[in-house]
Symmetry: C2
């Protein structure tokens, strides 16, 4: 069941407000279909935007990285960050250049991240991250050891202040343009999986698991 959510002045969608979605469950569906986010943080007044993967559990978004990375070192100090996830669904070819658009779904989360210190929660967050990207893989892999856990930082961002924006469906042209003689319509775009490529040093008898062969991001 969807929980009500009221945007703040910072997350209220200003442009194309009819595309705004302030529904927590709708935002979760977008976050759960994607696994690549773009994280924004500020250093000496300069914003940086870095791509990274993420996982989600309830109202927590987890990201991870090397404990030595610029991004992680900056963010664990509780500075304001922004995490944006964008799913691109299609090109919208209108009759007028002006009404060309894209079909997409995006979520923008503002907040401060905190370092996940507790070893049990950290391991669980890494499992969530792994299972978010590729369900089934975690238990097929060699588990993290002490050294690896130490070299990895995990951050938790509460999904509290956020907005989602969605543009779906057909072309919308100005009424007078419908007589303009050109093709109009939507070119759908989708992320597709190719044939998995065996590693050159596979042990005998190891074949592609189902979760890799039939990988797709659910719609």
């Amino acid at each position: 069941m969807s929980q009500p959510y009221t945007p703040t002045p910072r997350t209220r969608v200003v442009r194309e407000a009819e595309r705004a979605v302030y529904d927590r469950e709708a935002a979760y569906r977008i976050l759960d279909e994607g696994f690549l986010c773009h994280v924004g943080f500020v250093t000496d007044g300069q914003p940086f935007v870095i791509p990274t993967s993420y996982g989600r559990k309830d109202a927590s978004l987890y990201i991870h990285g090397s404990a030595a990375s610029r991004m992680l070192r900056q963010m664990k100090d509780g500075v304001p960050i922004c995490v944006t996830v964008t799913l691109l669904d299609g090109l919208v070819l209108a009759r007028s250049i002006f009404n060309h658009s894209m079909n997409y779904r995006s979520v923008v989360i503002l907040g401060k991240a905190t370092l996940v210190d507790d070893p049990k929660e950290k391991l669980e967050a890494l499992r969530l991250l792994s299972e978010h990207i590729l369900p089934g893989r975690w238990s097929d892999s060699r588990q993290p050891n002490e050294r690896e856990l130490k070299a990895t930082s995990v951050l938790r961002l509460p999904i509290e202040e956020f907005s989602a924006k969605v543009r779906q469906g057909p072309v919308v042209d100005d009424e007078e343009d419908y007589s303009f003689p050109t093709w109009a319509g939507v070119v759908p775009l989708e992320v597709k999986t190719g044939e998995p490529i065996d590693d050159a040093r596979l042990l005998p008898g190891q074949s592609v698991p189902a979760y890799a062969r039939h990988y797709s991001r659910g719609k």
Copy 2:
């Protein structure tokens, strides 16, 4: 021919420095294959990361949007921004959880954007943007009129301070993990085009143009 490029301390890649690419032509190839960027800007100390499309000509990146948008209004004042383009090429399934990775190509550009004021340059930038996303579409569309041009802002970001990061190829596991009994390899990911969808109000005789039917982002 590739131009030499020396990163600044802000764009020198710190983590996984072997993945860094400081080659202008390599960065251009990534920028030219993508068309969705994530723009970071700062308002009252809070970073925002917004997805938008872009075009490129030589060392200029163009973005556009409603003259009334929060993002465009902020950025045209010459504040520092960051534009990041990420192409996701695959999931890299190592034997250890720790060595799981992704194949990707990304470019990060730092700088200040300026408003494109000159009407001729503005129209040309809009054409570049359109042709960058969908070559051939511009001349098949109803051209922008005065009102539409007025409602649209175009910004130019010089591609001066930038870095690119590329991870390609197979799994790299720790030597002692090659005996761990699991499948390992790469699951390729690619953006694919679906069958174009005709608009419901097409004029008789309008069929899907080749640039929409055979759309793909060149590799």
